[in-house]
Amino acid sequence: MVEIKDLHKSFNSNVVLDGVSFNVTEAENMVVFGRSGTGKSVLLKCMIRLMDPDAGDVFIQGKDVLKLELKELNELRKNIGFLFQGSALYDSMSVRENLEFPLIRNFDLDQKEIDERIHFVLEAVSLLEAINKMPSELSGGMRKRIGLARSIITKPKLMLYDEPTTGLDPITSKEISVLITELQHALKMTSIVVTHDLLCAKIIADRAIVLSEGKIVKEGSINDLTSSEDPLLKNFFSDEIIEHKGSMK
């Protein structure tokens, strides 16, 4: 489904991705771990060409993403959902308009079908009552849910999540993580989740990789990673556990 080969990206002298390679198979949930500033979000943005990498290859559904013309890229993007860190809801549009936007612009659907899809995704994220609200009237958790609803409304084959639980309280984080997993199973999507939230990863991940200084330092199941004797991983996960316990108090 997704194949990343030897991806490099630098900002001036700051090397962010230094030869990152991995594969994600169909319907798999892959979690990318790493401390802040290790290039996790840059990795996601390079995958869908919101940023151009300096070198390397990205294949999604067999297509060489970095070599696609804009028209072909936009066609491919219709099959990809992206949940942004801050949800990125359009401030000037209501929830309904936010959800309608990708459908009206990209798909030839009649109003009845559009309404049905809006109803379906809002019900899936349990926010049917927010349909006419503006983004400014929503809480952080609600914005995440609506962002998620907007990402899945086009029925994407691949979902990319950029820190889906950042800025949320532990209970809402857990709810969002469970919701993501439920939607993954219901819609049979492949997903790549960038996070540093261990609880979120435990709920979602089939497999995980750890990024450090632009390289993948470890790959495996969450249990393999958390029980690893590697000093870097021990340090990372112990910090995460302390942070998680602290936020639960």
Binding site: F84, G86, D91
Partner: protein
């Protein structure tokens, strides 16, 4: 030693500012080229353009109206004693009319428009950029440049001339009130004198140059907002510098366009 380090710092700062300035000019040129490439390609966002024209026009209408009225009033009050000194009081309506139609109306309206609209576009697009809304649009397969930038530049280009005609009319009313205070003149006679003095050769270049001013306001505001970075601080900077740069460019282009008009249309005297 101290002087050397001060000179060095001054040199570095000047070099940095000049680099930034030329980078901005390059960026604006590229942005402008991209606009002309995309504006003719479908889908044509007619509904968005209409929405922006109404929104921007309505937002600016009161402030340009008040400003135009005061400018007309003050202009007539200032000119009246000067013309009286030369025994040319009868030329007051014509002098005020020509000044307002040829220069004051278009430029004042454009500067007010720049202050109100360019900063607004800069802040709006800047905020969309730093909160990843533009990225979200791109990911969903929509061309954000066409949807957000082209529509706004198109709207500012065509709404400013309409506002300018309105400002000219309001300014003439303001000037009439000042004229009535010093001379016993009817509105019909005043208007007749203005129309007699102002020729098409005065009105057409005056209004036509506002298409360029409107384009500048939209272009600079959109460029500053679309390329904003560094979070909310970047949004503030985009908004402020959009006003400064667009106002400066309006004055520079006014100078060039006046010279150009007089060169290609020598009957305009």
């Amino acid at each position: 030693m101290n002087n050397t380090s001060t000179t060095g710092k001054l040199f570095d700062t000047t070099e940095k500012r000049l680099t930034e300035f030329f980078n901005m000019l390059g960026g604006l040129t590229n942005f402008s080229i991209r606009f002309f490439k995309e504006v003719f390609l479908p889908p044509y966002e007619v509904e968005q353009i209409r929405k922006h024209m109404i929104e921007l026009g309505m937002k600016t209408l009161p402030i340009v109206g008040v400003t135009g009225f005061i400018i007309g009033l003050v202009m007539a009050m200032q000119l009246s004693p000067v013309l009286k000194r030369f025994g040319a009081e009868a030329f007051l309506p014509g002098s005020v009319g020509i000044s307002i139609v040829r220069e004051l109306g278009p430029v004042i309206c454009a500067l007010i428009f720049a202050g109100r609209v360019s900063s607004g576009i800069g802040a709006e697009l800047g905020s969309m950029r730093v909160t990843e809304q533009i990225d979200a649009m791109e990911v969903s397969g929509v061309n954000p440049f066409r949807y957000l930038v082209v529509t706004r530049i198109f709207a500012t280009t065509f709404i400013l001339p309409i506002l300018t005609v309105y400002v000219i009319f309001i300014s003439l009313i303001g000037a009439y009130i000042a004229v009535v205070l010093v001379q016993n003149m009817t509105w019909a006679y005043y208007l007749d004198r203005v129309i007699f003095s102002v020729e098409f050769g005065d009105a057409i270049p005056g209004v036509a140059k506002t298409f360029v001013f409107g384009y500048i306001v939209g272009l600079v505001g959109a460029y500053k907002g679309y390329t904003a970075e560094n979070g909310t601080e970047g949004v503030g900077k985009a908004s402020t510098s959009a006003v400064v740069v667009s106002s400066l460019l309006i004055l520079i282009f006014d100078m060039v366009l006046v010279k150009l008009t007089l060169w290609i249309w020598p009957t305009v005297k």
